[in-house]
Chain length 355, copies 2
């Protein structure tokens, strides 16, 4: 079973990738400071997996408090966080009670943030149930909620004690969500791993069919890449910013269309195409490179064109990005497919790209 | 001018104590990653000091965004935090914008928490304007807001880059607030510094009259004590818990009476009396010791008797305390005046004490 270690000096942790992990709660038991957890999930995932997961935990002698939130990015808010706190306080959960996120990136980001700030910090475990969460959001310790004026604007860097990525749960994931996760998978190839990009082109059909061995390899390679980047730059002061390839455009798309209309991964896919086209404008990528990326995204059933948004709105939303430094937006661009770097784009270039 | 260093390995910082510091904004300027700050304060403090402080900052070429919150412990909530975020986002404050708390512990705790989570963390400076904030809340990095089910339940450990304790601003502090701060001052003597306790007994009248040199020495000694304890145990896993002398009882008083009815320091004073009486029940303190503490608190114009709360309510509120471990409340008790330690109290002992 693949195992990836995230080597953070102050708080190393392991990512387990495999089948049937939701029932292997011994991995969880051994890490708990107290045989008590609060499982945070949403209505959709609860209906599918909570009963089994809870039974497995209880079979290990672990007392389980449940928090079931409504499903959707629009609920990634303080109100939902407060629902978690209400339950934790009502049930008198203490600083030793571990929070477990059972769900996709929305549940993971909120639960992680709740764990970061409940009583100034309690232990936290990620059990990601979407492809996107398994390859990206559950690893690295970024947690957040949205603010009406900006996505993920309120949050913390807070690392889990353990990540369990169970391949079996992906079979119930809607196709569109699986594809959204593929956007982040492809992103890792683009950033700094040309061989992985080529591997993805070869295996894209097997991946889309969720062949377990291929899927496990893809998830492992993504987690290895993310773990390496995060260990080198936990607080996003340098290299980690490359993980935002496609995201400055993507966030503008998500915000401009209204959160939840485009999935995060869909917006990132269109955003990566824009980053590729910008890199072509700058003379780094050839037409054929851009076409190659377009084919791969299409094979993953992802959008390759951004929605039509007024130029002012693009600027407006992109300026809200956390990557803004001294008033300038830093974009992640491509020197080649498999080599990302940070640079500015001037207003003229942006206009040509987005008009 | 007294200077106390807080020696945290990952983020050391200095506490300056003296007169006229509000105008010495050069100390702030040299620490800013960007010549831009957001000053968070409340209506009361803004009316007294914001114009001067802002003018001094602007004279250093620093752009200032203001956030003026309503005054009071009852506003130490998510709503107030959101007012801070609204302004920061509207004004497009970035990760390099420094937040400055200008006010007492309420403003300091909220601003610190806002800084901890805005865009996952921005720099933060404390300019405490109450005695309590100067000797206690501004030092050590505990930040929080209240939840309807518990005080300071949501927060973070997040250290400031600098603390400026200006003695001059204390002259406008209402007498009752000054006394509340004295409770925390006396606490430091009780915990582990019998000579300081004796010094306080000698100088209590000069202190209550706010004689600058005596006041400066008291604040410095408190900050030295707190800095030492915090550096040894940043995340309150051991020794730092001793700083909660009087606080488990105190929190129950604050909550039981409704936040804001008793001042925090007043509740802590009555709480320290209860801790002393409990220590007497256990045979550690003599009647004369308890009387000595009572005299000092009275000289500082602090309450020495708790309000009448039903016993169940005491238990209810104390059980919400963050010092609860495995269902047991750990109390800070006294082996002698000047030597605190952690222990449980059984229900019988509590009943005798509180009934
Ligand atoms: N923290 C990070 O580093 C990071 C990185 C990338 C994305 N994110 C965040 O992640 C979020 C997106 O995550 P997501 O794509 O997982 O979305 P999501 O959490 O909304 O999950 C997508 C949908 O799939 C459902 N679902 C989850 N698991 C399922 C399963 N096994 N079977 C059937 N349905 C299932 C969910 O209920 C939801 O309806 C965004 O909020 C984004 O900001 C965070
Ligand atoms: N973070 C920590 O480690 C820590 C430690 C102790 C207490 N606290 C928190 O601190 C808070 C209490 O702090 P506080 O006692 O400073 O209360 P506070 O902030 O409410 O201030 C008391 C009152 O004095 C006013 N004020 C402040 N400065 C003034 C000045 N110079 N002149 C005139 N009026 C002034 C305020 O507007 C307020 O009305 C509580 O919320 C408590 O939980 C935190
Ligand atoms: Zn993403
Ligand atoms: Zn206190």
């Amino acid at each position: 079973m693949p195992l990836v270690n995230v080597d953070l000096a102050h708080a190393p942790y392991a990512i387990h990738i495999g089948r049937g992990l939701l029932r292997q709660t011994g991995l969880i038991r051994s890490l708990l400071p107290q045989p008590r957890v609060a499982v945070v999930t949403n209505t959709t995932v609860a209906a599918l997996y909570l009963a089994d997961f809870k039974a497995a935990l209880e079979a290990e002698g672990i007392a389980v408090v449940e928090v079931i939130l409504p499903d959707g990015e629009q609920y990634k808010t303080w109100d939902s966080l407060n629902q978690i706190f209400d339950v934790l306080l009502r049930e008198r959960c203490e600083r030793k009670t571990t929070l477990i996120a059972l769900g996709g990136g929305v549940v993971g980001d909120m639960t992680g943030f709740a764990a970061a700030v409940y009583q100034r910090g309690v232990p936290f475990i990620q059990v990601p149930t979407t492809l996107l969460a398994q390859v990206d959001s559950s690893v690295g310790g970024k947690t957040a909620i949205n603010h009406p004026l900006g996505k993920n604007m309120i949050g913390a860097f807070y690392q889990p004690k353990l990540v369990l990525a169970d391949l079996d749960v992906l079979c119930t994931l809607p196709q569109r969500e699986f594809s959204a996760g593929m956007a982040e998978v492809i992103k890792y190839g683009l950033i700094d791993d040309a061989p992985f990009l080529a591997w993805l082109e070869t295996h894209i059909d097997a991946l889309m069919a969720q062949q377990p061995d291929v899927l496990a390899e893809a998830i492992e390679r993504c987690c290895l890449a993310k773990a390496r980047i995060v260990a080198a730059d936990e607080r996003e002061e340098g290299q980690r910013a490359l993980l935002n390839l496609g995201h400055t455009f993507g966030h503008a798309i998500e915000a401009g269309m209204g959160y939840g209309v485009w999935l995060h991964g869909e917006a990132v896919a269109a955003g990566m195409m824009l980053a590729a086209r910008a890199s072509q404008l700058l003379g780094h990528l050839a037409v054929a490179d851009v076409a190659r990326l377009e084919r791969l995204l299409q094979a993953a059933k992802l959008p390759v064109e951004p929605p039509a948004l007024p130029f002012e709105q693009w600027l407006e939303w992109m300026a809200q990005d956390k990557k803004v430094v001294d008033g300038h937006i830093r974009f992640v661009l491509l020197r080649s497919l498999g080599h990302a770097y940070l640079d500015r784009l001037d207003p003229d270039q942006l206009r040509r790209l987005l008009a």
